[in-house]
C-alpha cells in the first residue's frame, strides 16, 4: 500500500517536473533565424546586447538600430542593455543555451574570453564578411585584437589606449613643466609633488587591475612584442623580462608614490576612488585607459569634465626589449553569435564602422573611434592626444589580463597587488602565473 502510494506520488512528481521543464523551454522560439539565409526580403529580427545602459550611449544604439532598419526594412534590431558587471555572466549563460536564447549581436571584450567562445563554437567567423570599406578605414591593429588564429570573430568599434591622465594645474603647482617621459623624470616628478604636499599618484588597488596595469606597462617596455605574443600561447612567464618588469615596479613602488591606503581604494566608485581623487585634485595623476576622462568627469564636484586634465603616454624604460612608443589598450568590438542570421548580422557590424556612425559613437561615448576618417572629426584635445599616441605606436598590445585570459589575468592581478602591499615578491608574480595554469 505504502509502496503504491509512493509510486503514484513519484509519477505525479515526474509529470509535474516534466511539465515545468517544457514550460521553461517553450516560448523562446523568436530570435535567430537558424543560420544563413540570403533572402533580403524575409523579415529578420536580431537582438543586440550592450553595456550602455543609460544616457547618450544607450541612445546611440537605439538611433543606430533605427537608422539601420530604415536602410534594411526587413531587419529589426532589438536593443537589450545589460549592466556592465552583469554582462559577462549573463552572456555566458545565454550563449550556453544556444539558439533562441543567445543574443545575435553582443559586446565583445576579446582576449581569452573570446578564444573560449570560439572554442565552444559560439561565435560566427566574420573574416569573409568584412567589407572593403571597413578594411580600408579600420587599421589592422584594431582587427588583430579581434582575431583568433587568423580568423576575425568581432568588429572593432573603438580603441581605448592607456597612459597617464594628469592634472595640469597640480603639475604646474609642483613645478613640473613638461610631463615625465622617462623613469628618472617620473621619479623627479613624484619627489616634487610630494614636496608640494600633493599625493603624486592615485591607485585603485582594491579592484586589482589598476595596480596590475603598472606591471603590464613595465612589461610592455621590458618584453619584446614576440615575447608578449608567444606568452599568450604558453601562458608561462619564462622570459627574464617578466622578472625585470617586476623589479622595475618594485623599485618604483618603494618610493611610495601612491595614495595612502591604496589597497582599499577602488578605481571608479565615489570621490574616494582613484578617479575621484584625480577629479577632486586630491591626487595629481593616475595610469588608466582612455575611458578615464569620462569616469573623472562623472566624479568632479559639478559632474563636468575636469578642465585641466591632460594625457601623456607611459614613460620609457632604458634597456628594455619593447619599443618605447608601443602602447597598450583595449579594443571594444561587437560579435555575431554562431546562430545569428548571416548577412543581416554582418551587414550591421560593417555599418557600425562607417564614418557617420563612428562619429556619433565618439560623441556618445567620448571614446576614440576606430574609423580613421571619424578620428579626423575628433575635436576634444585629450581624445585627440590618445589617438595620436595610438597611431604613432609601432604595435598595440591588449591589456595583459585580457590577452592571457581570465584565469591567468586574475592570478597576475592578485600577485601584483600582493607585491605592492609588500606581501609577495617579484618571483611570486611569475610563480602564481605559472601555478594558475593548474586551476583551469
Amino acid at each position: 500500500m505504502t509502496r503504491k502510494f509512493r509510486a503514484a506520488a513519484l509519477v505525479a512528481l515526474g509529470a509535474s517536473a516534466a511539465l515545468a521543464m517544457t514550460a521553461c523551454s517553450g516560448g523562446s522560439d523568436n530570435g535567430g533565424n537558424g543560420g544563413s539565409t540570403n533572402d533580403t526580403t524575409k523579415p529578420v529580427t536580431m537582438t543586440l546586447w550592450t553595456n550602455a545602459t543609460t544616457g547618450p550611449g544607450a541612445k546611440f544604439f537605439e538611433d543606430t538600430a533605427a537608422a539601420f532598419t530604415q536602410a534594411h526594412p526587413n531587419v529589426t534590431i532589438k536593443i537589450q542593455t545589460v549592466q556592465n558587471e552583469d554582462l559577462d555572466g549573463k552572456l555566458q549563460t545565454a550563449l550556453q543555451a544556444g539558439q533562441g536564447t543567445a543574443p545575435d549581436i553582443f559586446l565583445q571584450r576579446g582576449g581569452g574570453k573570446m578564444a573560449a567562445m570560439v572554442d565552444a563554437g559560439q561565435l560566427m567567423d566574420i573574416s569573409d564578411s568584412v567589407s572593403a570599406d571597413t578594411k580600408a578605414s579600420v587599421g589592422a591593429g584594431a582587427f588583430a585584437a579581434e582575431q583568433v588564429e587568423g580568423k576575425t570573430y568581432a568588429m572593432p568599434v573603438d580603441v581605448l589606449p592607456g597612459g597617464f591622465w594628469y592634472s595640469d594645474t597640480l603639475f604646474k603647482k609642483a613645478g613640473i613643466t613638461t610631463p615625465p617621459t622617462t623613469i628618472d623624470e617620473l621619479n623627479q616628478a613624484v619627489t616634487k609633488l610630494k614636496a608640494a604636499n600633493i599625493t603624486p599618484i592615485a591607485l585603485g588597488a582594491k579592484d586589482a587591475w589598476p595596480a596590475a596595469h603598472w606591471y603590464y606597462w613595465f612589461a610592455l617596455r621590458e618584453c619584446s612584442q614576440d615575447t608578449l605574443n608567444s606568452t599568450a600561447k604558453t601562458l608561462k612567464f619564462d622570459d627574464e623580462c617578466w622578472t625585470k618588469a617586476g623589479n622595475d615596479l618594485k623599485t618604483f613602488a618603494d618610493t611610495k608614490p601612491f595614495n595612502n591606503g591604496f589597497l582599499n581604494t577602488s578605481a571608479q566608485q565615489g570621490a574616494g576612488s582613484s578617479a575621484g581623487q584625480v577629479a577632486n585634485h586630491k591626487a595629481a595623476t593616475e595610469l588608466m585607459g582612455a575611458w578615464d576622462p569620462g569616469q573623472i568627469a562623472a566624479l568632479t564636484p559639478d559632474q563636468k569634465p575636469l578642465p585641466d586634465l591632460k594625457f601623456t603616454p607611459f614613460i620609457q624604460v632604458p634597456g628594455g626589449k619593447g619599443d618605447p612608443k608601443a602602447i597598450m589598450g583595449g579594443v571594444d568590438g561587437y560579435s555575431c553569435s554562431a546562430w545569428a542570421p548571416k548577412p543581416a548580422c554582418t551587414d550591421f557590424l560593417n555599418y557600425l564602422t562607417t564614418k557617420d556612425v563612428q562619429v556619433a559613437y565618439y560623441k556618445a561615448f567620448q571614446a576614440p573611434p576606430v574609423n580613421k576618417d571619424a578620428q579626423a572629426a575628433v575635436t576634444d584635445p585629450i581624445i585627440k592626444a590618445t589617438i595620436d599616441a595610438f597611431n604613432q605606436a609601432p604595435y598595440v598590445s591588449q591589456w595583459l589580463d585580457t590577452l592571457y585570459g581570465q584565469n591567468v589575468g586574475n592570478a597576475l592581478n592578485t600577485a601584483v597587488v600582493n607585491l605592492l602591499a609588500g606581501k609577495g615578491s617579484v618571483d611570486d608574480i611569475v610563480k602564481s602565473v605559472n601555478n594558475a595554469a593548474d586551476k583551469g
Partner: protein, 342 residues
C-alpha cells in the same frame, strides 16, 4: 537524529494507511464512480492533494538544492571554463591543486581564526549583555533594540558603511585625529596585521544581537524558583549565575555555538563587500568562499570553483556532524520522540 527521522516518516505513512475515522474516513466513505474497494487506503483525491501541495516545494528543492550539489560534484572533475560542455576530464586533479594551494590554506586558516575568535569573543560578551538586559532597569528596551538592530541591517549596508568609515581617509581615522588620538590611526582594512581584527570587530557588532536574543530567550525558560531557592540558601548574584543560570543555559549556548560555527565557515558577504573581489587574500581576511569566488567564478575556472565548493561542503559537513555527535548529542537525547527505543 536520522534514526528518529526515518521512524517519524514511517509513523506518518502508517497513519496514512489507516486513516482515522474522523479525518480521512469521510473522504473514503464516498468512493468514485469506478467503484474502488474501500480498503485502498489513500483516495485519489488525497493523493492528488498531497502531490499538488508538496510537488512545487519538492521540485524547487530538487532543482535548486539537490541538483546543483550533484552538478558541482560532477563539474569538479573537469577542467572547464564554463563555455560549451565540460569535456576535459581531469579526475581528482582539481582537488589536489586545492589542497596544495597556499592561498586556499591561508583562507582555511582565516576561517578557523574567525570561528574560534567568534566563539570566545561573542560568547562571553553576549552572556553578560543577556544577564544585564534580563534585569529590570531603566531604558532596557531601548538597549535591547540598539543591540539587536545591527543583526537586522543587511550585510551589504553594514559592509559598505564600515568600508567607508574604516578606510584610510575615513571617518574613524578622522575622528581619532580630531580628538587627539592621531597616534592610533591605522590602515584598518589594508594592513594585514590589523584587517582580521577589524573584521572580527565588525562581525561581533553585527552578530552579537542574535546571540543576546537567543540567550535571553534561554534565560526566560529558567524557572525563577531555582534562583530564589539559591538566594535563600545564601548564594550571591554571581554565584547564582555561575551555578544555576549558566548550566541551565547550556543547551542554548551549544545551539548558538553551532550556528556561529556554521556562519564562520561560510562567511562571505561582509568580506566580499568590504574588501572586494581581489584584495581579501592580500589583507589576510580571505575565506574559503571568497577563495571559491575569486579562483572559480572571477577567474572563469568553473570546474575548479565547483571542486572548491565540494571541499567547502565536506569541511562544513564534517564539522557539523562532529559537533552534533560530540556536543549536541546530550541536548537531543531524550528530547526527541522516538517511539521505538524504549
Amino acid at each position: 537524529m536520522s534514526d528518529s527521522q526515518t521512524e517519524n516518516s514511517l509513523a506518518q505513512e502508517s497513519s496514512l494507511e489507516n486513516p482515522s475515522p474522523a479525518g480521512g474516513g469521510a473522504i473514503v466513505a464516498t468512493p468514485p464512480a469506478g467503484g474502488r474497494p474501500r480498503r485502498r487506503g489513500v483516495s485519489w483525491r488525497e493523493r492528488l492533494e498531497i502531490t499538488v501541495l508538496s510537488g512545487p516545494a519538492i521540485i524547487v528543492f530538487i532543482g535548486f538544492v539537490i541538483l546543483p550539489v550533484i552538478l558541482a560534484a560532477y563539474y569538479g572533475f573537469f577542467r572547464w571554463k564554463g563555455y560549451g560542455r565540460p569535456t576535459d576530464f581531469v579526475g581528482l586533479h582539481n582537488y589536489v591543486v586545492i589542497l596544495q594551494d597556499p592561498e586556499f590554506r591561508a583562507a582555511l586558516e582565516h576561517n578557523l581564526y574567525i570561528l574560534v575568535l567568534s566563539l570566545i569573543i561573542q560568547g562571553p560578551i553576549a552572556i553578560l549583555l543577556a544577564l544585564l538586559l534580563n534585569r529590570k532597569m531603566r531604558g532596557r528596551s531601548i538597549i535591547r533594540v540598539l543591540i539587536f538592530v545591527p543583526w537586522v541591517v543587511s550585510e551589504v549596508i553594514a559592509g559598505t558603511g564600515f568600508s567607508l568609515m574604516l578606510s584610510t581617509q575615513g571617518a574613524i581615522n578622522d575622528l581619532l585625529r580630531n580628538v587627539g588620538l592621531g597616534h592610533f590611526t591605522a590602515d584598518w582594512l589594508s594592513d594585514p596585521n590589523i584587517a582580521l581584527w577589524a573584521l572580527m570587530g565588525i562581525l561581533t557588532w553585527k552578530y552579537i544581537g542574535f546571540a543576546v536574543i537567543l540567550f535571553m530567550a534561554g534565560m526566560q525558560n529558567i524557572p525563577e524558583e531555582l534562583s530564589e531557592a539559591a538566594a535563600i540558601d545564601g548564594a550571591g548574584y554571581w554565584q547564582i549565575q555561575r551555578r544555576i543560570t549558566l548550566p541551565l543555559l547550556g543547551p542554548t549556548i551549544r545551539i548558538w555555538a553551532f550556528l556561529s560555527i556554521i556562519g564562520a565557515l561560510q562567511l562571505f558577504d561582509l568580506v566580499y563587500i568590504i574588501w572586494g573581489q581581489y584584495v581579501a587574500g592580500t589583507a589576510g581576511v580571505s575565506t574559503m568562499v571568497t577563495y571559491m569566488v575569486q579562483y572559480g567564478r572571477n577567474a572563469g575556472n568553473y570546474g575548479y570553483g565547483s571542486a572548491v565548493a565540494v571541499v567547502v561542503f565536506f569541511i562544513s559537513l564534517i564539522v557539523a556532524l562532529g559537533y552534533q555527535r560530540f556536543v549536541l548529542r546530550r541536548d537531543t537525547e531524550g528530547a526527541l520522540t522516538d517511539g521505538g527505543k524504549k
